[in-house]
């Protein structure tokens, strides 16, 4: 049973997604069903991480006599679709399942009044399937298929409130960006397939010789995944999509963005690992892209009046930290001394920041969703004095805002500090930009706090009460995680983050299918 765990990771949410439309008449039951399914997947992903830590890389071959049969007798190349799960795959799977669960819990009350909820939950579960498939697969074409599943489900959810024209506008923007990016991924996969006659990631990474065609394929993959994770020249779809999507989907949509970031790391670290000279250049490109992303994102955020839009621009800016951290690691990947001194720390910072950012940004977007739920507006100028009416939401917002600004006892500080001290070693200017961004972030959240929660109570919000229980529970879970990750960063780093970092650095293990062949 336990050896079929990777297949179950996909099968359970897929089953849940296709059963949900059956509960068309009973909208409460479908919400509980989705919460149940996502809770089960959380359990499965924790089990998966445990297995990965116990046995190293897990390989699962679909349709083989035995799930571990990579090369059947007489074959020299793998021909079947396979899943290959190492530290970073399991890490991303935990983030995805946890956030889908919290999102489903939050949605229970947040979208209660809307129609078509059975489709909403079916799409939420499909989005989870897409993310999980992307982070677990070891096959390039499979990566494309799951990328498209996540893109279609995500954009359909962005346009879920179809009585608003803006939702459809944001939805089609997201869909155009994601389908162009996926088609270019498919084109690059075609190039690699034509050259090496195989689709297996580990197999191709052993063959790559880095001629002109490979460079074109690498460029296409890099650009497409950077586009889908909202790095700067292609960031315009992020604020629209995050603003219009119902707040319960925001966590899952954030993770789907970072699944593309994962694919970017996988392509640069594993697929093209053999090109030792050019990698430093790619690492520099990634770091500079990161600095640009964080700075442009935060400057755009400062002028926003719409609370969710402001937070979405911060999401762009925070993606920059991850690109910077991992980019610094990539720059020194083939320099063992520098890698041991600060490269590994930088990557740990970048990858730790992924889960931290997913947690506190989901928390913040959920508090914004709660504000929208009670006031019916997202304009900061129309809000005020809500702190007394909604004490728990206010507390959750303070935790989230402190975490995103990198104040000490919260999780944002833990990962940002790792990035500061390591990027300083590569080039002090990188660290300076990262710190300035952090200060600007704090400034803009002080503005949100002052205009939404402080000030005299407004007459029109006299009857406002705290949001319903499921929303509060979802927010409190995330706020507690913020504090726990901030207080005990060493535990998280040891158990989750460093296995992920070592999985990226240690290519040989991935290439040998975990020692199976």
């Amino acid at each position: 049973m336990i050896e079929h765990l990777p297949a179950l990771m996909i099968a359970v949410p897929l089953f849940g997604a296709f059963v949900s439309p059956l509960f068309k008449k009973k909208q409460n039951i479908v919400a509980i069903w989705a919460i149940l399914i996502t809770a089960v997947t959380v359990g499965l992903s924790l089990l998966l991480m445990y297995q990965v830590r116990l046995n190293g890389v897990i390989v699962y071959v679909f349709g083989a006599d035995k799930p571990t049969l990579v090369l059947p007798s007489g074959y020299k190349v793998p021909i079947r679709i396979m899943f290959e799960i190492d530290g970073i795959g399991a890490f991303m799977a935990i983030s995805a399942t946890l956030m889908s669960f919290v999102g489903a819990l939050y949605s229970y009350s947040h979208v209660e009044g809307e129609s078509g909820l059975e489709k909403y939950y079916a799409l939420l579960l499909l989005l989870e399937v897409g993310i999980l498939g992307m982070v677990l697969t070891g096959d390039l074409f499979n990566l494309f298929v799951f990328l498209e599943i996540a893109g279609i489900a995500g954009s359909a959810l962005v346009g879920f409130r179809n009585y608003r024209g803006e939702a459809s506008e944001a939805g089609i923007k997201y869909l155009i960006v994601s389908s162009v990016a996926s088609l270019m991924v498919l084109f690059a996969v075609g190039i690699l397939y034509g050259e090496y006659g195989n689709l297996n990631l580990a197999y191709i990474s052993r063959q790559v010789s880095f001629n002109t065609l490979d460079m074109i394929a690498f460029g296409l993959l890099f650009a497409s995944f950077a586009m889908k994770c909202g790095a700067v020249p292609m960031h315009y779809w992020v604020p629209d999509a995050y603003t219009e999507v119902p707040a319960g989907i925001n966590p899952a949509l954030l993770v789907s963005t970072y699944a593309s970031l994962y694919a970017l790391f996988r392509v640069s670290f594993t697929l093209f690992a053999n090109i030792s000279i050019s990698l430093a250049r790619v690492g520099w490109i990634m770091s500079v892209l990161g600095v640009l992303t964080m700075f442009i994102g935060v400057t755009m955020a400062l002028v926003q009046k719409d609370v969710k839009r402001l937070m979405s621009y911060h999401a762009i800016s925070q993606t920059g930290y991850m690109l910077l951290g991992v980019g610094v690691g990539l720059t020194v990947l083939h320099d063992p001394k520098a890698l041991a001194e600060f490269g590994r720390t930088a990557m740990a910072g970048g990858i730790f920041h992924i889960i931290n950012h997913i947690i506190y940004k989901s928390l913040l977007l959920m508090t914004a969703g709660a504000l929208f739920y009670v006031t019916g507006t997202r304009n900061l100028n129309e809000m005020g004095g809500l702190a007394r009416k909604m004490p728990i939401t206010t507390l959750c917002f303070i935790v989230g805002a402190a975490a995103i600004s990198g104040l000490p006892p919260f999780n944002g500080f833990a990962s940002k500090f790792l990035i500061y001290e390591s990027s300083y070693r590569l080039n002090p200017l990188l660290a300076v930009f990262a710190m300035v961004t952090s200060i600007l972030t704090l400034a803009s959240f002080v503005k949100v706090f002052a205009s939404a929660f402080l000030g005299p109570p407004l007459e029109k919000f006299e009857n406002v009460r705290e949001v319903p229980k499921p929303m509060i529970v979802a927010m409190v879970i995330l706020a507690l995680l913020c504090i726990l990750f901030g207080l005990f960063p060493d535990v998280v780093l040891d158990k989750l983050v460093y296995p992920a970092v070592d999985a990226l650095i240690n290519v040989a293990q991935y290439q040998s299918w975990g020692g199976l062949a």
Binding site: G151, I152, G165, I172, L175, V180, L183
Partner: protein
């Protein structure tokens, strides 16, 4: 050696279609035409995959139906590119259906399909 030029012909068409698709997405103002541009891109990528898998004089890899001179597996083509293309076509249908549904909904709310006027989300 005349054949060599024609071997590359599908790839030249792929390049032209890619350019055309990107031009349509980037410069056309009608939303429906943008959707058509994405369909052209998809056609280009599908053609690329199929052209990769084409082998002159090869047989379909169905052992029971192949004529006797194809009994040697060397003469059969690899079915993977066709399988990839089929999958990609199916996904493409879903994407275009969803995009057209969005376009219909946008027309209902904005009364126009001009992408320069569909700009309520900004800043």
């Amino acid at each position: 050696m005349n054949g060599n030029i024609w071997v590359n012909f599908p790839f030249i068409v792929v390049a032209l279609l890619l350019a055309l698709g990107f031009y349509t997405i980037g410069f056309k103002r009608n939303l429906i035409k943008v959707v058509i541009g994405i369909e052209i891109l998809e056609g280009a990528v599908n053609l690329f995959l199929v052209a990769l898998g084409y082998v002159r004089g090869g047989y379909a890899p169905i052992y029971t139906l192949a004529p006797s001179e194809a009994a040697n597996p060397q003469n059969m083509v690899l079915p993977t590119p066709q399988a990839l293309t089929l999958t990609s076509i199916v996904i493409g249908v879903a994407v275009s259906a969803l995009m057209l549904a969005f376009a219909v909904n946008i027309y209902k709310h904005y009364g126009t399909l001009d992408v320069t006027k569909i700009r309520r989300l900004r800043g």
